[in-house]
Symmetry: C2
Subunit: 84 residues, 2 copies
């Protein structure tokens, strides 16, 4: 792993971690009122495309970050639909 | 541009666009109370690292998406510090 791959992995960890507190909070409180369904569905589509593109570039940081963020976003969409 | 590069470019447009309504709203209302400075500073660091990694991968979608999102995030941080 060279320095750029390390930076990519750091990027993956930071931007993925930024989403987790939201998932935890929504899971615990079941309060989804302030969440925009349109925004999360758009984001899920965008992140899924990044995931496909990450496989194409053969980039482990992109596959990990976008794979985990896609799952986080899907959980938030599920909670939004369940508790709306 | 092959199909994967088109998907990457679509990904870039969608996830970058998801941020712009927040920037516009904050710019207009000057209301930054609900914005988490820690989250946005972390996100700025993460996106900047993705930008460096995008240059390394020579990926135009990554450079455009993360470059614009870094600027959006920096504007939000500036507004947060100005109107807190």
């Amino acid at each position: 792993m060279n320095i750029f791959e390390v930076l990519g992995m750091l990027a993956a960890i930071i931007t993925t971690a930024a989403f987790l507190p939201q998932v935890y909070k929504t899971w615990k409180t079941k309060d989804t009122k302030a969440l925009s369904l349109t925004m999360y569905v758009s984001f899920f589509i965008g992140v899924s495309l990044w995931l496909v593109y990450g496989f194409y570039l053969n980039s482990l940081p992109m596959i990990l970050a976008n794979g985990i963020t896609a799952i986080s976003t899907l959980i938030l969409i599920g909670l939004k639909l369940k508790y709306k």
